[in-house]
């Protein structure tokens, strides 16, 4: 871990009743990077965001956000953190103008121009109430508020929820431009994995039970591979092991093999377990394919 980490998580453990969410989770988010926190439903992405923002107390381990413990964030540090809550949480009784006025009072570096540059694209009057907005419109207002705050660290919890492709793209384009131009640190969770390819530098894969893989997006896509093997006549099915990260059986019996190994190593492993690698095919992957291959379908 680097010393200039914006977020540092060490040995984090948390459970809900008897269900273990994390057990010894560790990772760090370096300053100036854009990180995607990816994982299937229920692995604890939102829980992790809550822990980082002090909205939950961990069972064990430590978190530091901009050098401070989440439950003891000083007002000065809170000013440096822009937070988009899951579901684009907003005060719905306020209008666009009112919500801008309310939040602007808290942030000395407030950038009204940034807020209205984004929100004016909605073509709505300042008197339009947030409760009368669509999910997509509300997402723009919430993003505008966070960007106008001019924070050093942005944390966005499932910003894609409820957004159609157009609003997702608008949100993403703005966020990427804003973060790159301002050298912001961004930690984002999303269910729409393909968006991450356009956004993030590094990915943090969270799996059930709290195991984690932190890697750069480029390294992951370069080293994680997908091979397809025709249905073996013998009925043998290789298991996930040191070579195969994950093995999925397709409906037609074809085997999808996912591995951080090259073709030769995979072929050798197939021969070792008694399978003929003759029909082994390399399959190109999108990030979403790789995500499903890494985390498994089920």
């Amino acid at each position: 871990m680097t010393n200039d980490a914006a977020i540092r998580v060490e040995g984090l453990s948390h459970r809900f009743g008897s269900r273990v969410i994390y057990d010894g989770l560790s990772f760090s988010v370096r300053e100036g990077g854009i990180f995607g926190l990816l994982g299937k439903n229920g692995v604890g992405k939102t829980t992790l965001i809550k822990l980082l923002m002090g909205f939950l107390r961990p069972g064990g381990g430590t978190c530091r956000v901009l050098g401070e413990a989440p439950h003891a964030l000083t007002p000065a540090t809170k000013r440096r953190i822009g937070l988009v809550f899951e579901g684009h949480l907003a005060y719905e009784f306020m209008s666009i103008g009112q919500v801008e006025r309310f939040f602007s009072a808290w942030y000395p570096k407030w950038r009204r121009d940034v807020f209205y540059d984004l929100v004016d694209r909605l073509g709505l009057p300042c008197t339009h109430r947030i409760r009368h907005m669509s999910e997509g419109q509300r997402s723009q207002v919430v993003l505008g508020l966070v960007m106008a705050q001019d924070p050093d660290l942005l944390i966005l919890d499932d910003y894609t929820m409820g957004l159609d492709a157009g609003y997702r793209r608008l949100f993403l384009d703005y966020l990427v431009h804003y973060a790159r131009a301002g050298n912001k640190t961004v930690l984002v969770t999303s269910h729409v994995v393909q968006d991450m390819e356009r956004l993030v530098d590094d990915v943090i894969f969270l799996r059930r039970g709290g195991s984690v893989l932190q890697t750069s997006l480029g390294d992951f896509m370069a080293t994680f591979r997908h091979f397809r093997l025709p249905p073996p006549a013998s009925g043998l099915r290789p298991a996930a092991n040191g070579v195969f990260h994950n093995v999925e059986e397709e409906p037609d019996g074809t085997l999808s093999l996912f591995a951080f190994r090259d073709r030769a190593e995979v072929a050798a492993e197939l021969r070792r377990v008694g399978l003929d690698p003759a029909g082994l095919l390399d399959v190109p992957m999108s990030l979403e394919d790789a995500f499903v291959g890494y985390t498994g379908k089920y």
């Binding site: 809550k50 923002m53 002090g54 909205f55 939950l56 107390r57 439950h71 007002p75 000065a76 809170k78 000013r79 953190i81 937070l83 809550f85 579901g87 949480l89 907003a90 005060y91 719905e92 009784f93 306020m94 009112q98 006025r101 309310f102 009072a105 808290w106 942030y107």
Partner: protein, 221 residues
């Protein structure tokens, strides 16, 4: 402080104005009711009833503050706890204790204006038709009802902010208990020597709200 007051004003304004209007109408009703009694009965008889029998000509006021407190607490807290929106304010650059106390202060001030109107109308109504000594008695009699309104506000705030069901039930019982304490007797001047004690009991509900807010922040959702 100013920004939170602005937010609370935007949120509370419709309900607060409605509550204020309803109380103003009630005050008019109270005045007309007392005036009517004096039109249909002799003043001496009414003084006798008030002074000797202990008849309260303003007994209808008794549960009005209770309803005011509940309505304002719901208007202030429901939008904050639905989907956990209070976390938006908790992420503002301000500590939890000042944040909660400012919210409470604004809610209590809004309630205080309404209750102040009730007391003023009561004093004017009684002062118009009865000797001055009856005004003091009416205010002392009505003050525990006002405290019941404050207790209802704080109890509802506690229950709404509290994320854990078992604590919420305890707080509902506690709030109900304090309201009950304020309504133990409906006789005039019943609380003349106990007002400060009741006030302390009601005031003790304020720090309890801080503990509920802390649990709300710590993951009750």
């Amino acid at each position: 402080m100013g920004a939170i007051a602005y937010k609370e004003w935007l949120k509370l304004r419709p309900v607060w104005l409605a509550v204020l209007g309803a109380n103003a109408l009630f005050c008019v009703y109270l005045f007309l009711h007392v005036r009517h009694r004096f039109q249909v009965e002799h003043a001496e008889m009414l003084f006798y009833q008030a002074n000797r029998i202990g008849r309260l000509f303003y007994a209808d006021l008794r549960y009005v503050p209770l309803l005011d407190g509940l309505a304002l607490a719901a208007a202030q807290l429901a939008p904050e706890v639905i989907r956990g929106r209070f976390r938006l304010s908790m992420h503002l650059p301000i500590g939890l204790v000042p944040l909660v106390l400012i919210h409470l202060g604004i809610g209590l001030a809004a309630l205080g204006v309404v209750l102040g109107l009730d007391l003023l109308a009561l004093a004017l109504t009684i002062g118009t038709y009865f000797p001055a000594a009856f005004v003091d008695s009416a205010l002392v009699t009505a003050l525990p009802w006002m405290l019941a309104g404050v207790a209802a506000y704080l109890g509802a705030t506690l229950a709404l902010l509290e994320p854990m069901t078992r604590y919420r039930l305890v707080y509902l019982a506690l709030g109900g208990g304090v309201v009950w304490l304020c309504h133990l007797s409906g006789r005039h001047d019943a609380y003349a020597h106990a007002l400060s004690g009741v006030l302390v009991v009601v005031a003790l509900m304020v720090p309890a709200v801080l503990t509920s807010a802390a649990r709300f922040r710590d993951g009750g959702l």
